[in-house]
């Protein structure tokens, strides 16, 4: 008699957002195919487009999957189902993060294939690429958490502005302050030195803290809808 409502909510979100996921995966894949052409200009254009598609998706998904549910007043419909606000938030987090991870992992695999399989770029770029791909993931988690806890377009937009403005700064700091990574990224071999692991660890910890804080703040809410 008791269906798994959380699972139904997650599947519902995926059905509603599948167009966004497919379009972004296609855009990311198209950006990577530009890299195959080779030469400096296609590599720059392809890399920029690759990150743009990921950053775009990091903004679009929380807005469409979380903010729109509040803005377009479909939230009361969902909350009329046998689900608590805490379980709703958990389902929303799983569905949104899950959707982004599908895109993120797909693009990561394609990028690795480009480097390892097709040798479009030198292997030394892999650690740097992993670190750089972590930033949109952190940004996405921050926008998602803010959208869910803030329950407003204003808060989500503010988070987007902060996140998107900080990409350039973070990349600059990385390039100028961590020479052990930037000096080896043009080489034929991927160098996994302690600095790489430290940054990847910090990125992972930041994601865990953001998601944990989101669940904690959501569970403390006393008014929902």
């Amino acid at each position: 008699m008791k269906a798994n409502v959380m699972l139904h909510l997650i599947l519902k979100d995926w059905r509603l957002q599948r167009r966004t996921i497919i379009l972004t995966v296609l855009a990311g894949a198209a950006a990577l195919t530009i890299l195959v052409i080779g030469g400096q200009t296609p590599i720059v254009i392809g890399t920029v487009l690759f990150f743009v598609s990921m950053i775009l998706c990091a903004c679009l998904l929380p807005m469409q999957n979380i903010v729109n549910e509040i803005k377009k007043q479909t939230l009361p419909f969902v909350m009329s189902l046998p689900v608590s606000s805490a379980r709703y938030a958990a389902a929303k987090l799983v569905s949104t993060v899950g959707m982004f991870l599908i895109l993120w992992l797909t693009l990561l695999c394609v990028a690795l294939y480009m480097v390892l399989g097709r040798h479009t770029l030198p292997n030394g770029v892999i650690p740097m690429a992993m670190i750089l791909m972590g930033f949109p993931l952190i940004g996405f988690c921050l926008i998602t958490g803010t959208a869910l806890v803030g329950e407003s377009e204003g808060w989500a937009t503010a988070a987007m502005v902060v996140v998107n403005s900080s990409y350039g700064l973070v990349w600059y700091l990385l390039a100028s302050h961590v020479p052990s990574i930037t000096q080896t990224w043009g080489g034929p071999v991927a160098v996994w030195n302690p600095a790489v692991f430290k940054i990847l660890g910090v990125e992972f910890a930041a994601i865990m803290v953001i998601l944990g804080l989101t669940i904690y703040l959501q569970s403390r809410k006393r008014s929902f809808v």
Binding site: M1, K2, A3, V5, H8, K12, L16, K72, Q73, T74, P76, F77, M79, S80, L81, P82, V83, S84, S85, R87, R222, S223, F224, V225
Partner: protein
């Protein structure tokens, strides 16, 4: 099982500019209660509290025997909730919504859903964005009714509807009640709708329940007496009379606990009773709210 479908005791909720104060409410199984109040009276807050969507600061809330908000998940299996501000996914069809809700509720009544589609003039393949406001409300109610819930909680479902759509919805709501044991809490500021279908009436104003009673008793107890008051006659203050408005020699006395001896008491004081009239629910509502606000001021 609890004696009541809904039971609220001493429920308080404070916001910056609004307080829900000491709300006590009881809805017996198998009855329809109309919750009437002006805009901002606290109807939606009360309903959100009993649905577990807003947590009360103090007080006990029991719905179908389950404590809210703690046991809201299990309670919601048997509650059908629809509110005026509830919207469906615009890019999807009504059929998609039906399949979604059906996949969750094993008690979903397909035959009844088809019947409702016909009664409401809806088509499953239609996208929600192509529906009028009235059709969207009907679609939301279809998704609620076909779950066959034990308790229906409807927050201003008829707001903004044309008379025909309102009539169709109220007719269906009455039909839904044919099933034994089903209870309905129906909030509205439209007294006509509430008068048409409710067994019990509860008035709420400025965060306080000001009265709650059987509808027939309400209509029976409230009377308006039109009086002619000769010069030099002072109208007595009588128990059961909550207000007198006098303009020159004519006065109107409103009684909220009318007794047959009241007109005689006015006659004995020297006034002439020209008419004793029944009041509509809307008139009772307005008089009740005004009386309650005067009491609070005093």
């Amino acid at each position: 099982m609890s004696d009541y479908a809904i039971e609220l005791n001493g429920v308080c909720k404070s916001y910056r500019f609004f307080d829900l104060q000491n709300v006590a409410l009881r809805l017996e199984h198998g009855t329809i209660m109309g919750l009437i109040g002006p805009n901002g009276a606290g109807k939606s807050t009360t309903i959100r509290i009993l649905m577990g969507l807003v947590h009360q600061d103090r007080g006990d809330v029991n719905v179908l025997g389950y404590r809210m908000p703690e046991e809201q998940i299990i309670a919601k299996w048997d509650i059908g909730f629809a509110s005026e501000d509830m919207r469906l996914y615009e890019s999807m069809t009504l059929g998609w919504h039906i399949n979604f809700v059906k996949s969750i509720y094993s008690r979903w009544d397909d035959a009844y859903a088809q019947l409702l589609l016909k009664h409401f003039g809806l088509r499953a393949e239609q996208k929600i964005k192509g529906l009028s406001h009235g059709q969207r409300v009907k679609a939301s109610l279809l998704l609620v009714f076909a779950r066959r819930p034990k308790l229906l909680v409807l927050d201003e479902p008829t707001t903004g509807l044309d008379p025909v759509a309102r009539h169709e919805i109220l007719r269906e709501l009455t039909a839904v009640m044919v099933e034994e044991g089903r209870s309905v809490l129906f909030s509205s500021h439209n007294t006509q709708d509430v008068e048409q279908i409710s067994d019990q009436i509860t008035f709420i104003d400025r965060g306080r329940i000001i009265d709650s009673m059987d509808k027939e008793i309400y209509l029976d107890r409230w009377r308006r007496m039109r009086l002619e008051v000769p010069d030099g006659v002072a109208l007595p203050s009588l128990p059961g009379v909550i207000g007198i408005q006098q303009t020159g020699r004519l006065a109107v006395a409103i009684a909220n606990a009318f007794e047959s001896h009241l007109p005689n008491a006015y006659e004995n004081s020297g006034a002439r009773v020209r008419a004793v009239e029944n009041m509509t629910l809307e008139e009772i509502f307005v008089a009740n709210v005004e009386h309650s606000r005067e009491e609070v001021k005093a």
